[in-house]
């Protein structure tokens, strides 16, 4: 490598690093909430009831947004429209710093704004008012919106509804062109190199990576990295979650649920099989040496450089790196998600139907002076014309209508992707947490512009067309099997373990052991793998895993009893 390119690499790394700091500051957390949700949907013909109070009295709602974000510009188009038509203006406070610390201060001082994003800590502290009566009395649209989900929204601890979930209520045709969940990702270039093979199993996957790395030891002057594993802070699924998917099980977090009974899988044989494979791959030099010491920024910088051939991750988690690759014009270095399993006879179950995003969305605080007005406002905003305004914008300005189908011109598409433009023209911060229609509107248009099929096709790059044509798919989502209907309890990861309980302590312990031993086992010489693994299993045996499993099973049973229709 010449000195010049080294400097270039270094300065671009620094640039990326600082960029990712900036990005992290500007709302990296968004991803967190869009986690399970970005997909779907809902129709919503039902919510057309008019809410005509007559005159408009201005009022102010203070809002706490539990994630980092930026204030919209004072003359933001959408907030202005809300103020003109409903009288409501929002006084938003965004999270700065650590959420637990912030909540601790809020709870200690009982200092709550009117509306707060959902959080189990706040629920446990009694910071929200029960909403069920308010909704019954004042909010017919919300009632209709949540009709099918009413029981699920009840707090398992006392049966009240405190939070209006923001995602997961869907109706109508669900258009989905973007898979946001977990998968084994592989660079499109690798697939192209080997003439678009079918990749179903873990072994096939690593074979491809091995062959490609042998053929191209360097990409753009930097050493090729075969496989990357992120295990940093709470972003630890890259290391922990793969085994459950490899046996054809959906994402239940730390447990696998069979016939309504949950057990942890961290110490099971099918988990061992995966980590052993990784250990072998490490011995072959396919796994990044730095993989367990890097932080999220370094991980993103590596993905953005285009040298990483594959990893296991959730799509939303590295979305920004793909955007960066696209901006650099390296479309062939972006990724395809593959639903891998151990053997071809297993059916993959990576993609799931959207679930109700419990513990997220808005709750009204005990300090709110006029809860009735607030619930009426939320009831107005769930109506279809408002939902269109939130998701698509203003007709003629932000989108066009052709033969009843919503479309965007290229300029409008570029605008919509521009963060600065959004601050002045979108009510993104509020809409992220408001109850929302997902899927399709009553006129058949998709609620999410990116999921509108025509829009998706129009925005597709030629290289992506080539890949999709080679496999005969319409979008990258088609790589995954159609998800079956969700089991009633699903997903187990959303179960609230209750702060400070034995179950929660056990889960923390388990997490700690996994973080400590799995990297050790993977990096060990293959001959030593079994020794490390046995020590790890022994340590898990000492942690109070039973308390954790019991709590999950108790809640699964509760959900089956209470959520079944």
């Amino acid at each position: 490598m010449g000195g010049k390119s080294k400097t270039a690499v270094k300065s671009s790394m620094i640039l990326l690093l600082s960029l990712s700091f900036a990005l992290a500051g500007c709302g990296g957390n968004n991803n967190n909430n869009t986690a399970a949700n970005d997909e779907e949907s809902q129709g919503a013909a039902a919510t057309a009831a008019a809410n005509t109070d007559g005159k408009i009295e201005p009022f102010n709602v203070s809002v706490f947004i539990g994630q980092a974000g930026q204030q919209p510009t004072p003359d933001n188009k959408i907030y202005k429209k809300i103020k003109e038509e409903t009288g409501a203006s929002f006084d938003m406070e965004f999270l700065a710093g650590d959420i637990n610390q912030k909540l601790g201060v809020m709870i200690a001082g009982q200092d709550y704004p009117d509306l707060m994003t959902g959080n189990t800590k706040l629920t446990a502290a009694g910071a929200y008012i029960p909403l069920e009566d308010l909704i019954e009395e004042h909010a017919p649209n919300l009632k209709a919106h949540y009709e099918d989900y009413w029981n699920m929204m009840k707090d398992p601890n006392d049966g009240h509804i405190y939070i209006l979930p923001n995602y997961g209520v869907y109706n109508g045709k669900v258009n989905s062109s973007w898979y946001s969940g977990p998968a084994f990702w592989i660079q499109k270039a690798v697939l192209k190199e080997f003439n678009y093979p079918q990749v179903k199993t873990l072994d096939q996957y690593f074979d491809l990576i091995e062959k490609y790395k042998a053929k191209y030891p360097e990409i753009d002057g930097s050493p090729t990295i075969g496989f990357e594993i992120l295990n940093y802070d709470w972003k630890n699924w890259g290391l922990f979650n793969a085994p459950q998917h490899l046996i054809g099980h959906p994402n239940d977090g730390g447990v696998v649920v069979k016939d309504g009974v949950a057990e942890i899988f961290a110490d099971k044989d099918y988990a061992k099989q995966y980590y052993k494979k990784l250990s072998e791959m490490n011995a072959k030099g396919l796994i990044d040496k730095e993989t367990f010491v890097q932080n999220y920024d370094q991980y993103m910088a590596k993905l953005s450089s285009g040298t990483v051939l594959g990893m296991f991750d959730q799509h939303w988690n590295f979305n920004a790196a793909e955007d960066s690759l696209t901006t650099q014009g390296k479309i062939e270095r972006t990724y395809v998600g593959l639903p891998l399993v151990y053997d071809e006879s297993t059916k993959d179950y990576y993609r799931d139907l959207a679930v109700l995003n419990l513990n997220n969305g808005f709750g009204i605080s005990v300090n709110a002076k006029d809860p009735v007005r607030i619930i009426k406002l939320l009831d107005t905003l769930i109506q279809e014309d408002w939902q269109k305004t939130f998701s698509w914008g203003i007709e003629g300005e932000d989108y066009i209508v052709e033969n009843g189908r919503f479309m965007r011109t290229q300029e409008q598409r570029d605008n919509a992707a521009d963060a600065t433009w959004q601050l002045a023209n979108k009510a993104k911060a509020m809409f992220d947490f408001l109850p929302k229609t997902e899927g399709s509107f009553s006129d058949g248009n998709s609620t999410d512009a990116a999921a509108q099929p025509e829009e998706y096709k129009a925005g597709l790059k030629p290289f992506d067309k080539e890949v999709l044509d080679a496999y005969g798919f319409d979008s990258y989502v088609d790589f995954f099997s159609e998800p079956p209907a969700n089991p009633v309890y699903y997903p187990a990861w959303s179960i609230d373990l209750v702060e400070g309980s034995d179950a929660k302590i056990a889960s923390t312990k388990l997490n700690e052991l996994q973080t400590k031993f799995l990297p050790k086992a993977i990096l060990a010489e293959p001959a030593e793998f079994d020794a490390v693994w046995n020590e790890y299993v022994g340590q898990i045996g000492k942690a109070n895993v039973k308390a954790y499993e019991d709590k999950i099973n108790e809640q699964i049973k509760w959900r089956i009893d209470n959520w079944s229709k």
């Binding site: 009694g126 730095e290 367990f292």
Partner: protein, 325 residues
Amino acid sequence: MAETLEIENVVRHPKKNKRKKKQPITWSLIKSQNQLIWMSVPLMLYIILFAYVPVWGWTMAFQNYRPGKSFSEQEWVGLKQFRFLFTDDNFLRVLRNTLAMGIINLILGFVTAIVLALLLNEIKKVFWKRTVQTISYLPHFLSWIIVTGIVATSLSINDGIVNIVLMKLHIIDEPILWLSEGKYFWGIVGASHVWKEVGWNTIIYLAAIASIDPALYEAAEIDGANRYKKMWYVTLPGIKATIVILLIMSIGHVLEAGFEVQYLLGNGLVVDWSETIDIFVLKYGLAQGNYSLATAGGIFKTVVSVTLLLMANWTAKKLGEERLL
């Protein structure tokens, strides 16, 4: 005879002081100093409000504290939180790490700051002195999140400056993965601390050095002292009082080995060396909503710190040095 007299004179000195101290507090004295007393009232209030009233919160450590409930509704659990803290397998390890890193930071921070101050003092060209000083204290203003980012980047095996330099100097044959080995971790933390704080810590010593009477240097020079002798016999004794006071104060903070560095640089591979009391308390206290445990951890740290502080102070007194209390 003359000698004994002199000794008597010397021992009378403290007596004099004592008598002065014992001056009775009378109304007339208070009246004559009433402005001073009034001036101290806001400060007293401030300290009571912000340093003593919060101690009330320590009661949380003996409860199963649940936020949102009033004091009388809390459940009292005695020493349960402390028992959890001290009986957990990890606690000893965590305590060891905290102490080790605290002591490393203390010693490294001290030695480097004093050495840098001495060296800076020898630079005669004001421009260079200022430049070096400014460059060395600027990192103090960076937050740890940025510093750890820089540290992680420079220790990286691809294009990390540390590995490149060591390779070029032929000290190592292939890049070392610094952050994956527990044995390096304490050193890395210590070095990062030095890099970030050395310039800042130097300022106070430079100020102390500036107050040394130049006549002493002239006298030493006339007696034939060279640069090093002057450093050793004039400058160092001149700032001894400052050194001792600062040392006592920092010994009280030895359990504050830090949280951010270890949290941000730590990973699964080095967790046995990187986890400090603060991280442990965060994991099992705050992150679990168990504020009582977090408080118990805080109390433990405070008690140990106060004990260390008093011990250091007592030792200093025995050695006849300046002291804090």
